[in-house]
Amino acid sequence: MLDAIWLIPLLPLAGAAVNLFLGKRLGKAAGWLAAGLVAAGFVVAVAALFDLLSLPADQRVHVVDAFDWISVGSFSVDVAFRADPLSMTMTLVVTGVGALIHMYAIGYMEHDPRFGTFFAYMNLFVFFMLMLVLADNYLLLYLGWEGVGLCSYLLIGFWFDRPAASSAAKKAFVTTRIGDALMLLGIVLIWVNLGSLDFDAVFGKAAGGLTQGAATAISLLLLAGAVGKSAQLPLHVWLPDAMEGPTPVSALIHAATMVTAGVYLVVRSHVLFELSGTALTVVMVVGLVSALYAALASIGQFDLKRALAYSTMSQIGFMFFAAGMRFYTGAMLLLVCHAFYKALLFLTAGNVLHGLHDEQDMRRMGGLREDMPVSTVWFAIGALSLAGIPPLAGFFAKDQIVSFAATSDRDLAWVLASFGAFLSALYIARPLFLTFFGRRRNEQHAHEAPALMQAPLAVLAFLAVFAGLVLGFTAEGGRLAGFLEPALGRAEFGEAAVSEGVLMAISIVLALAAVAIAFWVWASGRVDWEAFPQRQPELAGWLSNAFYLNQLYAWLVQHPGKGFGRALTVVDDRVIDAAVNEVAEEVGDASHLAPLIQRGYVRSYALAFLLGAAALLLFLGLRA
């Protein structure tokens, strides 16, 4: 099946084409077609995975060269797909989680008049995402990269009749575009320095062909793209607003797949980042700062989906942090586990929104466990998994990253990461308790979601529980780490000041403490959290506005931009339009002269004709 990996992206593309043109007529079948094709892609990917595993470990790279794409002089790029442990991991996550979310969306989007269009966009997104992860060169990766950005735009603004949704879509597109433009420069630099864009050629030649400065420049430019796509500081502002899109979109694009593309890019290009060294440090710092920043911001949110959005940003920060420490297998383990439990959390949030008729404010939820017992279980599993309660998936992934910081002599980073892990348990236990526990703050009865929407959640919940045990029981010997080793190498563990058992115990105690605190504050009824914004308006303002970075950007970019626009309007009105209008007016005035010789008498025309002809003849005659 390895030669058929081109089928994996092609199936959803076919689905997108069919649904785009026939979606209206297919009715509900549009959704099943879309979900089925993504699932079929998953089946092909699993078959390819077994083929890959049957190869010896050092030969697990298979490139399928489909056709020449661009060939100009010495510049040549193929459409080529690459099956190696890294790309297969991503492909399985994208198709597997993608298929489940598609299935969920059939129920969630049931009453939407643009049902077929929605699934066309979703399938198109899966196609581009698969192009991104299966590409064998940077340009094809960039094609997928831009494509997922486009689909993100289309799906955030799917309900474009809401002004908030359409402006959120524009914001997401423009903000990520800043990173994309820099990333394209990085790709150009790769070609200029190494003369190729194929992964094997680039990584093979990099050690000899790149100076450290060039490697740093390329890595930082690629990182800029990754930061934009993965919503890390300073290009993170679009992600919370992107929650205006339908909830399955938030789960698929803004939690499980697209936002992790930045992590994939860094991990895929780790040869270049390692060559630079500086760039790896930047990756680590950006990740850690983003993780802490988003964790604090998440605690200040009352909108359920925005709280989850900041938690996504924080989790991806942890992935960057791990990649920056050269712990690529740890970053990938967290990526996979996060895809499971965050998709679960978002889709369960979708159940809540669905049940409460689009109520998103957690201050008007509370006590929903009576109405939605099943959803409560799903959300609790997702939240506890994220919080790092053993033996759920999130525990293994996050604990390994945090303790890796300790074992590699990064004590300050370890302290901060532990604090981040504590905060992440706090920020995810908070929506759990605010939404499903405590006092009821909403009179309407929330109806539980139908079976069609619960089935994918059951699968995701299963994965969110067991993925860690199965894939990453220990950092050195976990199955995922072993599988990725041919592509990413083995992470080098050092000796920590304390034993690994102690580190693990600290993680567990922190997570449990955070959940306990969250319960005490938001569910026990003994703390008047609703009065907090009045008692501490400053602190509450900083948290709920995410440290006012949005406002800072507005002040730095948006207002000067608007001022510049207004200045240009004045130039347009007073200079350009004025000049055109003046010319038109002059011509109009001059046209009053013409009728003086245009009196309508044939005779006068004939005379003019005669005189003209005579003059012409005279002129020619005199010249000869």
Binding site: L596, R599, G600, V602, A606, L610
Partner: protein, 101 residues
């Protein structure tokens, strides 16, 4: 002894001038039309005269062309004049000054 070429050209020039004056000073569209015919035939005469001078048939061929074109033009022109007369009860070109600036 044949007639010198200049005689033909003088006649031709005279006819052309009469035709031109007719076009310029007459008001009746039919008369103007006849004057135009006079001009055309003056030119035809000159063409045939030059043809003889040069000893080839080019000028005569051209004269035939202009006769054919003139015939076609008369057909169209007369039709227009008749139609306009029916609508306006006038054949005077000075009455037809609708197309002015």
């Amino acid at each position: 002894m044949s007639t010198p070429i200049s005689s033909f050209l003088v006649v031709s020039a005279l006819l052309f001038s009469i035709g031109t004056m007719g076009v310029l000073v007459r008001k009746n569209a039919l008369v103007i039309f006849m004057s135009v015919e006079l001009q055309l035939n003056a030119v035809n005469l000159a063409l045939v005269a030059f043809s003889r001078l040069h000893g080839n048939l080019n000028g005569q061929v051209l004269a035939f062309f202009s006769m054919v074109v003139a015939a076609a033009e008369v057909v169209v022109g007369l039709a227009i004049i008749v139609t306009v007369y029916r609508r306006r009860q006038s054949a005077s070109v000075d009455d037809f000054t609708v197309l002015r600036g």
